[in-house]
Structure formats: structure tokens, C-alpha cells
């Protein structure tokens, strides 16, 4: 029999304090509110005073409401029954399907022992040259998409999801617009991927605290599948909303803020989620792609900044394309040495020349005279933007590499590219 407590002594923000005994840290409680019941989680205990963050928000809570402690941390159901289902940020069904209570696992399980991980070595092909050639995506990678609001980040996320060869797709939406939620659902449905997808959906109009649970729920379910040998792709959109929810709670709890109001443990909080990405040495894998919107296109904002230090690179979406500067896949070296002998050469050379193109463009815009070299660069840059960079391009890696050589040969002499002689001899296109 669970004990019921009724003496709520403080309500501030979405955090309430109730007097209770024998409560475990991080345990879950159920609160009967006039409008229904809500879950809450213990976030501080001081003697008898237990602080709880209420997932449905504190609006309408009366100081006489009943609080029941469930004596366990937050749990989520796992297993094949979840496939094709949609849940909210507390793990309750949103799709009129039955509530699930089988194979419950604790969310926020302990970290993986590093020695049980393997070096990622499987490339995920996306058909996007800016990804495949220049910043290859690798299974078990954790990679954010840095973007300003209004960029087609959800489209990019959905496109990678349907083209990637994975067993299960889990989408965690945080503060998502309802339209975007429908967009994901429709796109996955169109490509027949809905039956291997699971949604945890927190939309912009839901209570803020529920947003905090979404990554944990999604990743706990993903981990369970990965342990059973499945290859799971987790999509999170948008992690900045998650960080803002953390900020809100920590300020309510009167914690000393560190940078622009964010809590001092923002890095650890984000890391403990992103680090769930894993390739187990005898089981499946989890790959995480997460959208991080950058307020004011500022990469030094605490959320993208901390994220960048945690993740294995980032895709930087700007002006509707993946920007070559600022985008990086740290794991690309694990796979791009095994694709084709010229992969790395094309990758390095084309980017270096593109950097020179940008400089030439700057000179041009300032009205300086263009040298012969500058004109070559300008020609090259335009070709690169049109044939390689555009997100409309959808070609396999090998085709993209051939295209790269063609563009180089159209614009430059071999020695102008700085490529080693042995590679030039092997790959430079013969004169027409």
C-alpha cells in the first residue's frame, strides 16, 4: 500500500514541495489534481521537505492535493509493441491505442562501459554529397544539425531517416510545432517507414517539464532495442527547447546560473543524453541526429557551444544548404578511407579550393580587379554550389566523386589543385 501525503507546503513555478518520509531520490510520484493526475519527479530532498517537478505543470494544483510516491524512478515500456505508436512526454499514448506497461525499464540507466563499445566503422549513406563525400555519417554517431529557425532542418532530418538503412526510427519531438509533427508522420508514412517508427511527442503547447523527459524516454527505448541487436536511429528535434526547459527548472530551484541563465551542469546534462549513442561490441547500435536551433545564428550560444563539445561533429545548415565550413563529421576518417582511394583527396582539395573561392568572392564584392586565378576560382565555386552543395542533389557517393574530378578538370590545371602526383596520374580525367 502506497502512502499518501497531502501537505504541499510550497508551489513555485512547476516545482512543488511536499512533506514526506522515506522517499528515494529521483523517484516518481503521482499527484491527483482537479483536472486529472500528473506524474512528478523528486529533484531534491531536505529532511522531510521533498521537491518535485510536476510534469503537467503546477497550474491548478491545490495545497490539499494528494501525492503518492511510487517508490521507483521514471520507467518506460519497451519492446515491439511500441512500433508504430505515438506517446507524449510522460509516456502516455497519444494515438488512442492501449497504454503499455510491459517490459518496463528505468530511464536514465547507467552509462555504458567504454571497453564494451567498438570503434564505429559502418558508413550510413544518405545520397547527399555534402554528407557522403565531405562529412560522412557513421553508425553510432551523435550529430546535431545546427540551424537558425526557418531552415529546412526537419526536412533534412526526415530525408536522412528514410534513406538510412536502419531497423528502427525513434523520433523525440521537443517543443515541436504541431505542423512539423504531422510532417514527420506523413513523410515516414509515405515511405512506408511508420511501422518501424516510434514517436515521443512534446509539442509547443504542452507543459514545459514534459519536454525534459522526451530524450530520456526515446533513448531508453532505443537502448533496449540496441541491446537486442537492432540498429536504431534516434531523431531529436529540438534540443535547444530541452535546454531551455532545464534552465527554467534550475532557476525555479534557485540554482546559481552559469552562462546566460543556463545551469552549470548543462554540459553534463546534454552529454548524458548524447552519450547514449553507441555501437555495442556484441549487440546493435544507436545513432543520434539532433536539431539544435541557434538563437540569432550564434554558434557561441551556450546550447550549440556545449553541444559541439559533446557531439562527434555537426552539420551546419545555413541558407538552405549544408555549409562546408563549420560542418564536420569527426568519425568520417573511420569510413572514408575504405570507400575509394580518391575520397579523401577530393574531400580535402575541393574544400580548400572552395575556401579560396569564398576569398575571391569577397575581393570581387569589394570591387577589386580579378586575376586569372580568381576567375578560375569563381567558375569553380559556382559549379560546386550548383552541382554538389545543393540539397536537391541526390546521388550515390561514387557518382559524386566522379563529378568532383570533372569539376576540378573543367576549372584547373592539375598542379593548381595541390594534389599529389600519384593521385593525379590515377584519377585526373583525360582531356576530351
Amino acid at each position: 500500500m502506497l502512502k499518501v501525503y497531502t501537505n504541499i507546503i510550497q508551489i513555485a513555478g512547476d516545482v512543488i514541495i511536499v512533506e514526506a518520509e522515506g522517499v528515494g531520490y529521483n523517484d516518481v510520484a503521482q499527484i491527483d489534481i482537479r483536472s486529472g493526475t500528473s506524474l512528478a519527479q523528486v529533484i531534491r530532498i531536505d529532511g522531510k521537505k521533498v521537491s518535485l517537478q510536476v510534469f503537467a505543470g503546477s497550474r491548478g494544483i491545490s495545497t490539499g492535493d494528494k501525492v503518492r510516491f511510487l517508490n521507483h524512478p521514471m520507467r518506460v515500456a519497451t519492446g515491439d509493441d511500441l512500433l508504430g505508436r505515438i506517446f507524449n512526454g510522460s509516456g502516455m499514448p497519444l494515438d488512442r491505442g492501449p497504454e503499455l506497461s510491459e517490459n518496463l525499464v528505468d530511464i536514465g540507466a547507467p552509462p555504458v562501459n567504454p571497453v564494451k563499445r567498438i570503434i564505429p566503422n559502418k558508413m550510413i549513406r544518405t545520397g547527399i554529397p555534402m554528407v557522403d563525400v565531405f562529412n560522412s555519417l557513421v553508425e553510432s554517431q551523435k550529430l546535431p544539425i545546427f540551424s537558425i529557425s526557418g531552415e529546412p532542418y526537419n526536412e533534412l532530418l526526415a530525408r536522412i531517416a528514410i534513406q538510412a538503412e536502419v531497423d528502427i526510427i525513434i523520433l523525440g519531438g521537443m517543443g515541436l510545432k504541431y505542423d512539423d509533427y504531422l510532417f514527420f508522420k506523413d513523410t515516414l508514412k509515405q515511405h512506408g517507414a511508420l511501422s518501424r517508427s516510434i514517436f515521443f511527442m512534446h509539442t509547443a503547447s504542452d507543459p514545459v517539464v514534459e519536454c525534459l523527459l522526451v530524450p530520456d524516454l526515446a533513448l531508453a527505448v532505443a537502448e533496449d532495442f540496441a541491446l537486442k541487436g537492432k540498429r536504431v536511429l534516434v531523431l531529436l528535434s529540438d534540443m535547444t527547447n530541452f535546454a531551455d526547459a532545464l534552465k527554467e527548472i534550475s532557476i525555479t530551484m534557485e540554482q546559481v546560473p552559469s552562462n546566460r541563465g543556463y545551469p552549470g551542469d548543462l554540459y553534463s546534462q546534454l552529454a548524458s543524453r548524447y552519450e547514449k549513442a553507441v555501437d555495442f561490441d556484441t549487440a546493435g547500435s544507436i545513432t543520434i541526429l539532433a536539431v539544435t536551433t541557434m538563437p540569432g545564428d550564434d554558434v557561441t550560444h551556450p546550447v550549440p557551444d556545449n553541444t559541439g563539445y559533446i557531439t562527434e561533429g555537426q552539420f551546419y545548415l545555413k541558407g538552405g544548404v549544408i555549409e562546408p565550413f563549420g560542418s564536420l563529421s569527426r568519425l568520417k576518417q573511420q569510413v572514408n578511407g575504405k570507400t575509394r582511394a580518391d575520397h579523401r583527396t577530393i574531400m580535402d582539395t575541393m574544400i580548400q579550393l572552395f575556401a579560396s573561392y569564398r576569398e575571391a568572392l569577397e575581393k570581387q564584392s569589394m570591387g577589386f580587379q580579378m586575376s586569372a586565378w580568381d576567375n578560375k576560382l569563381l567558375k569553380y565555386g559556382l559549379l560546386f554550389e550548383e552541382k554538389i552543395m545543393s540539397l536537391k542533389v541526390n546521388i550515390p557517393l561514387e557518382k559524386a566523386l566522379d563529378l568532383g574530378w570533372q569539376i576540378l578538370a573543367d576549372c584547373f590545371l592539375p598542379e593548381e589543385t595541390g594534389i599529389k602526383l600519384s593521385i593525379i596520374e590515377q584519377f585526373w580525367p583525360r582531356q576530351k
Partner: protein, 575 residues
């Protein structure tokens, strides 16, 4: 003596406040008894009858009133044969053994012996009746390729007399091998292993000296322009994605030292995995043994408990000091010290201390200083030398070097290798910015030549800046050539291809040869009629140099390319 105990009164994240029944020692280790589990914690503040402790594990499920047992000991590590090749977490738990016992996940409250109790072939070096000091070598066991000396416990005071010493025999790690008598007549047992509190430096040596010998890292940019000395300190601050970790990995492979200790502190697990899976397979050219045989990895990745992250850098530096005591040169690579500083910040926030800049605690600077001060070149009691070199990366928020951790670090290190986003965006690796970096140490390149090359580089950059304003056409041919020379020096000497077998590591000999070769080019005049011609000439030269850089030292290919370069230079050289 009865065990001192207390009871939990307050829980806030990984900080637990305990009501005491008895006295308590600051920084003492205590265990929280939670059901069957014993969770390790450290006392970090005492107020009246309340002790505030940081818990090295997740605090989920802990309850008010649960018992806490105090251990009477400071947080310590075990020092003895068997450390090399190991992978520990921040509390010196061996991770492979944990994986065997617990599987995929790090179960909380499981602590294993750091050193396996195996037998070692012990040979005594002193006889009964000999007079020794703390840290003196009493005997030796072979560990991998090293002579692992068994030393008199570092904490003993004054002259010690050897009362008993084991003969040549196989001894287990916890077996007594000697008895020492101190001046007050007290007897001390000596084992193959000893334990040492991590936050206290080991000072059992004759004197600390000024670092003078260069530590060769085989990175041209570092060795030739911003050298590091054995026993010195350096830091690598840089924004994310600028290549800090790749730089550290390359250094750990190629640096000319005996032992490398890698402290992966609050960073990505994937990077540690790469090190620990590849090191057993890479053969160290100097020793002909796998790299892992001379490496110890301390890994407390970002998702592992924060408090253990704070202790991991201390664990690492203590192990480094231990091997230094045997007369070895040790390199400690800490990646990243910012995560360590953040762990301090998190704790300070929970303690509700008055925050300093960016909410870092006021003692940040002194903690960073005392960490780097544990590096050094020392003369041991027997006249041999040992050194600990510390290289720490810093991950400044927003890539802004003005932030507190970078600034506090710059005050205490001897060399600064600042990475810049600009260089890494342009794929100029290593992305150490030669215009902002500095070093107080002396390298193996002739100083006057180094300075003039550095000046040429700065001049080239000035012209590049100027050209942005006045355009290429407004720049004189002379200036344009100076600009091209600097770019050439940067691209073929300072930049190094980490994915090219030959180019990734350049020996001291080769660096001196190539540097002098390029230095001559930088200060020669060439017959170049116009800018187009000049640009083309340096592009061609650059291409040849890149081929040269990836040809093995003094091989046939090396000579062939050198000849080509010389021919090209002679064609255009003036006078």
C-alpha cells in the same frame, strides 16, 4: 576502533549532506550504505554537525536516514606493478575487469582492486642494515619493457634503516617484501604496492630542476616553433572541432617519452574507445612493443559521474609522478581540463558558494595552478632524473580565450598552443595558430633561424590582411612574393597530414634538415616576372614538397624529389 558513522539528511543531485555522530576528516572517503550497495563519496565541507559530501555515483533512490560509514582515509590510488596497459575510471576501477563482471553498463557501487594480485619476480637492490630515504629504490620487478622499482613508501620521514628485505623470489602484490625502521624506532612494512592520496603531490626526490631538454613530439609546428620541454607544461585551448583531441592522440603516439598517461576527462567515450582499441595494435617503433605497453588510460567520459571526473585528473597525475620516481620520462595528456573545471563548478553550485566569473568557484585559479605545478623535472635521491610533462587541452566556451579556465591556465603553463577556428575551417592542420601561440622553452631548431622564419610568417600575414583592403593589384610584387613565401612555409612545413603514414610524424633529424632547406628558400630571391608567375612557381614548389613530405626519410623517392626541387629552385634563383 569502532567505525564512525552518520546519516543522510539532505540530497541534492550528487551532493549529499550527512548528519555526523562523531568527528570527521576533511576530504575523507565515506561509503553510503544503500541496500546491498556501498556508494563511494568524499567529504568536501563540514558545517557544525553536518558534512557535505560529493558522491562518486548516481544518487538515484537514496533516502533520508540511510547510513554512511567513514573510512578514515583520503581518496587514494594503488601504486605498484601492473598499472601499464590498464584502463581505469577516475577512481582507479579497472574497466575491462568491470565489463567482465557487470557487462555492458557501469553498475554503481562496484569497486574492484586496481592491481591484480599476481606474482612478480622481485630482485632486491639493498641489503639489510642499509640506510634509505622515502622513495629510495629497494628492489625491482620487470613490468613490460621497464624496470619497475619498488620504492620505500613516499610518506615516510627521515633516514630509514632496512631491517628486513626479501631475497630474489616471486612475490605477490600484497606480500611483504621489506621492513623499514624510522628514526623513532617505529617499524614499517613494505609491499610491492603502496597507496597514495591523489590530491597530494609525491615529493620524495632530491630536488626539482628547470626543464631544459626538448620533448620531441614529431609535430613540426610544435617542435620547430613552439617547443615543449621534458618536465614542462603546455596547454591547447581551442573551439570545438579545431582538432584538440586528434592533436593529443598524435602526441600520445609519437612523443619521445617512456610512458604516456592519458586522462580522458569528461570527453567523448568514442575517442577513448579509439585509443583503447587501436593502441594494442600499433607497434611503437622505439620499443618494438605495442603502444599500450607504455600507456595508462584514465577515462571518465562525459556521461560518467561528475565527481569522479574531478578526481580523474588527480588520479592520472599521481600515476605519472609514481613512474617519474623510477627515473622515467612521463607525459600526461589531460583532455579536457575545462570539463574538470566544470565539475568543480557544478559542485560549487550545489554547495551554494559565492560564484566567481561565469559561476566558476573563486579557487579555480589556485586549483589549476597546483595541478600544473605537479609537472617537473626532478633529480632523484640516487642521482638519476625523472620528469612529468603535462599537456592539457582547454575547451573554452564559444572558443573565446578570455574565459576564466583558459586565462587561469595561461598564467601557469610554459607553452601555449592556441587552436583557431579559422585555420581548421581552412583545413590547415594542425590548427595551432602560429600568430597567437608562444613557448618559453628552447627547441632543437637554431633560435635565430626560428625567429626569422616566424617573422616571415607574420609579415606574410600582414600583407594578406593588407591585400584584403587594397587588393592584389595594389600590392607590390615584392610584397606579393613575401606573402607567397609565408603561405608556402605554412602549407608545406607547419601543416602536417595526420593521415599520411610518413607525414604524420617527422623526426628531429628530418625536421632540422627540412627546416634549414625551407629557411634558405624563404630568404632567397627568385627571378619571377609577375604575380601570376610567382603564384605558379610557389604552387609547383608546394606540390613537390607535399610529395617530398610523404616520402620516407632518406629513401630513394626522397632523394629523387629533392633533386627535382633543387632543379626548380636553381632555374629561378637569382644570382
Amino acid at each position: 576502533m569502532n567505525k564512525r558513522i552518520g546519516h543522510i539528511a539532505k540530497i541534492n543531485g550528487n551532493m549529499v549532506t550527512v548528519k555526523l555522530d562523531d568527528f570527521v576528516i576533511q576530504n575523507e572517503v565515506a561509503y553510503i550504505l544503500h541496500g546491498q550497495q556501498r556508494l563511494k563519496a568524499e567529504v568536501i565541507r563540514v558545517r557544525a554537525d553536518l558534512a557535505e559530501m560529493q558522491v562518486y555515483e548516481s544518487t538515484t533512490g537514496l533516502k533520508i536516514g540511510e547510513q554512511v560509514e567513514f573510512s578514515n582515509e583520503l581518496l587514494s590510488v594503488e601504486l605498484g606493478p601492473g598499472l601499464l596497459g590498464q584502463i581505469f575510471d577516475g577512481l582507479q576501477n579497472p574497466l575491462p575487469a568491470l565489463a567482465k563482471q557487470c557487462g555492458f553498463f557501469l553498475k554503481r557501487g562496484v569497486y574492484l582492486e586496481a592491481l591484480v594480485n599476481t606474482e612478480w619476480e622481485f630482485t632486491p637492490l639493498v641489503e639489510a642494515g642499509a640506510q634509505v630515504l622515502a622513495g629510495s629504490k629497494l628492489g625491482v620487478v620487470p613490468e613490460k619493457i621497464f624496470k619497475h622499482y619498488i620504492m620505500a613508501p613516499f610518506g615516510l620521514k627521515g633516514v630509514l634503516e632496512v631491517v628486513e628485505i626479501s631475497g630474489r623470489a616471486k612475490r605477490k602484490i600484497s606480500e611483504k617484501i621489506a621492513v623499514l625502521k624510522d628514526q623513532s624506532g617505529k617499524l614499517h612494512d613494505v609491499f610491492l604496492k603502496q597507496s597514495w592520496p591523489v590530491k597530494v603531490p609525491i615529493q620524495a626526490y632530491a630536488e626539482k630542476l628547470k626543464p631544459s631538454e626538448p620533448l620531441v613530439t614529431k609535430m613540426r609546428l610544435i617542435d620547430s616553433l613552439f617547443p615543449v620541454s621534458r618536465g614542462g607544461t603546455y596547454c591547447i585551448p581551442g573551439p570545438f572541432g579545431a582538432g584538440k583531441t586528434v592533436l593529443q592522440q598524435l602526441t600520445s603516439r609519437h612523443a619521445q617519452v617512456d610512458i604516456v598517461i592519458i586522462a580522458a576527462c569528461g570527453e567523448r567515450a568514442g575517442e577513448v574507445v579509439e585509443t583503447l582499441k587501436t593502441f594494442p595494435e600499433i607497434i611503437d617503433l622505439r620499443t618494438n612493443k605495442p603502444l599500450i605497453d607504455r600507456t595508462v588510460i584514465i577515462c571518465n567520459t562525459s556521461s560518467m559521474p561528475v565527481a569522479a571526473r574531478e578526481s580523474s585528473v588527480y588520479t592520472a597525475v599521481t600515476l605519472a609522478e609514481y613512474y617519474r620516481q623510477m627515473g622515467l620520462n612521463v607525459l600526461l595528456l589531460a583532455d579536457s581540463t575545462s570539463r574538470w573545471a566544470q565539475a568543480m563548478r557544478e559542485m560549487s553550485g550545489r554547495l551554494e558558494e559565492i560564484p566567481g566569473e561565469e559561476a566558476f568557484p573563486a579557487y579555480l585559479e589556485s586549483r589549476i595552478a597546483s595541478f600544473y605545478e605537479r609537472a617537473g623535472l626532478v633529480k632523484l635521491h640516487d642521482g638519476t632524473f625523472g620528469s612529468v610533462t603535462i599537456g592539457g587541452t582547454v575547451s573554452p566556451a564559444g572558443g573565446n580565450f578570455e574565459e576564466p579556465v583558459t586565462q587561469a591556465t595561461l598564467k601557469v603553463v610554459g607553452a601555449f598552443h592556441g587552436l583557431s577556428r579559422q585555420r581548421s575551417d581552412a583545413r590547415r592542420y594542425p590548427a595551432i595558430d602560429p600568430l597567437i601561440s608562444w613557448s618559453k622553452y628552447h627547441g632543437f631548431i637554431d633560435e635565430a633561424k626560428e625567429n626569422s622564419a616566424h617573422a616571415a610568417l607574420r609579415r606574410s600575414n600582414e600583407i594578406a590582411q593588407m591585400m584584403k583592403v587594397i587588393g592584389e593589384e595594389g600590392t607590390s610584387l615584392k610584397d606579393y612574393i613575401a606573402y607567397l613565401k609565408g603561405e608556402f612555409f605554412d602549407s608545406v612545413y607547419l601543416q602536417q597530414n595526420a593521415f599520411d603514414e610518413v607525414d604524420e610524424a617527422t623526426s628531429e633529424e628530418r625536421q632540422i634538415y627540412i627546416f634549414n632547406f625551407i629557411h634558405k628558400i624563404l630568404f632567397s630571391e627568385f627571378k619571377l616576372e609577375d604575380k601570376e608567375n610567382a603564384r605558379h612557381f610557389f604552387q609547383k614548389l608546394g606540390q613537390l614538397f607535399r610529395t617530398w613530405n610523404s616520402s620516407p626519410w632518406e629513401g630513394v623517392e626522397f632523394r629523387r624529389v629533392e633533386e627535382k626541387i633543387t632543379t626548380l629552385l636553381e632555374e629561378k634563383r637569382k644570382g
